[in-house]
């Protein structure tokens, strides 16, 4: 075992022996973020918004209540705003100070989101960051970066790709990637389908 593994194990053991934690609660917290609370939640929201204009308008106007109605509320999603990408505007979300991220809809953030390269460059050179993700936006597209410095959390509503007319909510949700809801990616059409 590595030093850090040993130290975490020792800390947990002391917390347990002193009666400060319920081990079953620890297991359930981990399981919740491994299995239940993740980007599939957000993908469902996006697919629903693509299919239902009325839902989309509510989602943009009253995001917290609308997300709560689907069961996606709570810890680190208490004050969520949904920002919509358009042909003229691309949104990207960052937390330059640490790792603020909308847990109920996206789960816990990936390593790159919490790392120096992303936190340092997203607010200064977002086009360079997008190139690291293999994305080149048109030069005239406006870019808006949301730095999550308070308890406001942000979910990007990506544009629905052409060629997905008539798709079911489930099929649409399957192309909504986590990165497309952070603004560092675009919905991913299956191989062989042009964007």
């Amino acid at each position: 075992m590595t030093d850090v593994e040993l130290r975490v194990r020792a800390l947990e053991s002391v917390l347990l022996q002193k009666g400060y934690i319920d081990p079953a609660a620890i297991d359930l917290l981990i399981e919740s973020y491994e299995k239940k609370i993740g980007p599939r939640n957000g993908a469902r929201v996006v697919a629903k918004a693509w299919l239902d204009q009325e839902f989309k308008q509510r989602l943009l106007a009253e995001p917290a209540q609308t997300l709560a109605s689907l069961g996606f509320a709570g810890m680190q999603g208490e004050h969520t705003t949904v920002v919509e990408n358009t042909p003229k505007l691309h949104n990207m979300v960052v937390c330059t100070l640490c790792s603020c991220y909308p847990w109920p809809v996206l789960g816990l953030p990936p390593v790159w989101y919490k790392s120096g390269p992303y936190r340092s460059r997203a607010v200064m050179d977002p086009r360079g960051v997008l190139r690291d993700f293999g994305i080149e936006l048109p030069v005239e597209t406006e870019i808006r970066v949301w730095d999550s410095t308070a308890e406001m959390r942000y979910l990007v509503l990506p544009m629905r790709p052409r060629g997905t007319e008539g798709w079911s909510e489930e099929k649409l949700a399957s192309i909504v990637t986590r990165d497309s809801m952070i603004g560092t990616g675009l919905p991913q059409l299956p191989d062989g389908m042009a964007r």
Binding site: L11, M75, E78, W112, V123, T184
Partner: protein, 220 residues
């Protein structure tokens, strides 16, 4: 504090390296420390701003040498030691070296779901009208508190526009010090990239931060 955590606009970190199909936790201990920190926060009764300060308040070399969850471990150890709940010596011994302190709350298995789905909203009733309105030109103050703050360095002294009023929220700068929630109006302030990074900046770029009223003044 002007700490290592405040990374906006710092050069030299290199490219972003995404990983395909990334798991929530990359090792078992990462999940353990994540959950222990959430649960111990309940027993220790510290707030989110105190927890954040405990993570960022360390020498830059140490902060950069640690992985994200190693910083969580260090922050948790610091909070537990400060409150007399667990000492470094106890962690090294892997057993209690004294009687446990009485704690108000322990996160029980049956309460986890409710705690997660309720969260901890930070909006509070306003005790005074908002000083700024949508469209106002403001400037982020040029301030350098040595304690916890959420005004990143790259916007300090820069002019921006009030885009949105977010309500009155718990003020991290006092909350982190145990000086109370002291709710303040919170605004989304939009900056033109050229006001942040100079004439060469991307002309299509706007950046916003969410800033509490004490961070802002009317632009001249």
């Amino acid at each position: 504090m002007n700490g290592p955590h405040d990374m906006g606009g710092v050069h030299g970190f290199g490219p972003v390296v995404p990983q395909a199909d990334e798991p929530a936790f990359h090792a078992k201990w990462e999940g353990r420390i994540f959950a222990l920190a959430l649960a111990a926060g309940r027993a220790g009764q510290w707030n989110i701003d105190m927890g954040r300060f405990a993570r960022e308040n360390r020498p830059p070399a140490d902060y950069f040498a640690k992985s994200y969850f190693e910083i969580w471990l260090a922050g948790l150890e610091a909070m537990l030691a400060q409150r007399g709940l667990v000492s470094a010596a106890e962690i090294e011994a892997s057993r209690p070296l004294g009687e446990p302190r009485k704690v108000d709350a322990i996160l029980q298995h049956d309460a986890v779901e409710a705690v997660l789905s309720r969260g901890r909203p930070t909006e509070r009733p306003a005790s005074a009208p908002a000083r700024f309105a949508r469209g106002d030109r403001v400037r982020a103050k040029n301030i350098h508190p040595t304690t916890h703050t959420r005004l990143p360095r790259y916007v300090r002294g820069r002019p921006g526009t009030i885009e949105r009023l977010c309500g009155c929220h718990v003020f991290p700068d006092t909350n982190a010090l145990g000086q109370g929630e002291n709710p303040q109006w919170l605004y989304t302030v939009r900056f033109d990239a050229r006001d942040l990074w100079g004439a060469e900046a991307d002309r299509t770029l706007k950046v916003s931060v969410d800033a509490w009223e004490p961070y802002l003044e009317l632009a001249d």
